[in-house]
């Protein structure tokens, strides 16, 4: 479980389920991220793509939300009642958390 070492966890309950974000921040940038949980987003590989889109991004709410909104606009997936704001919330809780 080495990858999880140094990663902080943030939880946020979206309508479709719980988002558990694990984030590693270094030099105010997201270095590694896992977006896990039992929320619904399909096709599911877009969740992996979402993680990739966030690596290297400044660890601030505005920047993360901006990237995620763009990600939603540019990609064709469904995530019923689960929005960029939900993922941002989980990630920000991780960044500010234990």
């Amino acid at each position: 479980m080495d990858r999880l070492e140094g990663m902080k966890e943030g939880l946020h309950k979206a309508r479709s389920g719980l988002i558990r974000a694990f984030v590693k921040v270094d030099d105010n940038k997201i270095r590694d991220i896992i977006i896990s949980g039992d929320f619904i987003l399909t096709p599911e590989y877009y969740i992996d793509e979402m993680e990739k889109s966030l690596v290297g991004v400044e660890a601030s709410r505005d920047k993360i939300l901006e990237i995620l909104k763009k990600f939603y606009d540019e990609n064709n997936f469904q995530s019923p009642e689960t929005h960029p704001e939900d993922f941002t919330e989980a990630i920000m809780k991780a960044i500010g958390g234990e």
């Binding site: 479980m1 080495d2 990858r3 999880l4 309508r15 479709s16 389920g17 558990r20 694990f22 590694d32 991220i33 896992i34 977006i35 896990s36 949980g37 039992d38 929320f39 619904i40 987003l41 399909t42 096709p43 599911e44 590989y45 969740i47 992996d48 793509e49 993680e51 990739k52 690596v55 469904q78 019923p80 009642e81």
Partner: protein, 276 residues
């Protein structure tokens, strides 16, 4: 649809049935064929695409209690199957079929009517609770998950018949002291099963029949009993190792996949779906 291709897998282990689910889904992406299916799961824990399993479960307790663990291709939460506890179903639907709604919540609503009609057979009233649950007398009796390709969706889920809440709590990564009578009672307030609702033991074979009725009623069709094709069997065999593979099950932290983007071995499978 007048007729629905239908497969009853009977009692099966979780690895094999999840490989079969994926194989049929991939091939249906090419053929566009609707399929319904049922199975009775062996003791197992089937986790969603994005769950960090090593955090969600107490792996030692799962092993000691004899649970097989795997990860499926669809999202959502844990599908926990204690011994002889439930009937599970699958439905592959062509998104161009007027009976298969494009909107995800509407498609959950439609397909979850399989459960609602099955409950009717027992004189029970089921109620769809968005996004993906069916309630009976206000408590969850069924959960479902769905994944989508370009052409078809795969929805799979469960109807609980004789569910062991204590074992589920033991397998989850929660402190032992919380698995008290009180802890179990609090889950019982939210979760139910057929035996509890009816106050008698319902044989799983009987629930199978009710689920068949649920399929017929939901899609206004007759069921055409069938088996997997040679091609579906071949792809199931090809996919089977993935469902045993720790690089897939623990895809966030193990071996070659322990990086952002995780398990991406599905490319060859996508390819397989395209070939004649």
């Amino acid at each position: 649809m007048d007729e629905l291709r239908f497969i009853d897998f009977g009692f099966t282990d979780v690895y094999k049935i999840m490989a079969a689910n994926e194989a049929m889904f991939r091939i249906a992406e090419r053929t566009g064929e609707n399929v319904g299916f049922l199975w009775i799961p062996d003791k197992s824990i089937n986790m969603g695409y994005s769950q960090l399993i090593e955090r969600e479960l107490n792996l030692k307790r799962c092993k000691d209690l004899g649970y097989q663990i795997t990860r499926r291709i669809s999202g959502g939460g844990m599908a926990f199957a204690s011994e002889k506890s439930q009937v599970q179903y699958g439905f592959i639907g062509n998104l161009e079929d007027p009976q298969v709604p494009l909107d995800m919540i509407e498609s959950f609503r439609k397909i979850c009517h399989i459960i609602i009609h099955a409950l009717e057979k027992y004189g029970l009233r089921g109620e769809f609770k968005p996004i993906n649950d069916v309630l009976c007398n206000g408590k969850k009796i069924s959960g479902s998950a769905q994944t989508r390709g370009n052409r078809v969706l795969l929805q799979h889920g469960t109807i609980l018949v004789n569910f062991n809440i204590r074992e589920m709590l033991l397998c989850c990564n929660i402190p032992l002291e919380k698995i008290s009578d009180k802890g179990i009672k609090s889950v019982e307030e939210r979760l139910t099963d057929l035996n509890r609702e009816l106050g008698r033991e319902v044989p799983l074979d009987d629930v199978n029949k009710a689920m068949r009725y649920g399929f017929e009623k939901t899609f206004n069709c007759t069921l055409r009993d069938d088996e997997m094709t040679e091609e579906e069997k071949k792809l199931t065999d090809k996919l089977l190792p993935k469902y045993h593979d720790e690089d897939w099950i623990f895809r966030y932290t193990r071996g070659k996949t322990r990086s952002v983007g995780a398990y991406e071995a599905s490319e060859e499978i996508k390819e397989f779906g395209k070939k004649e």
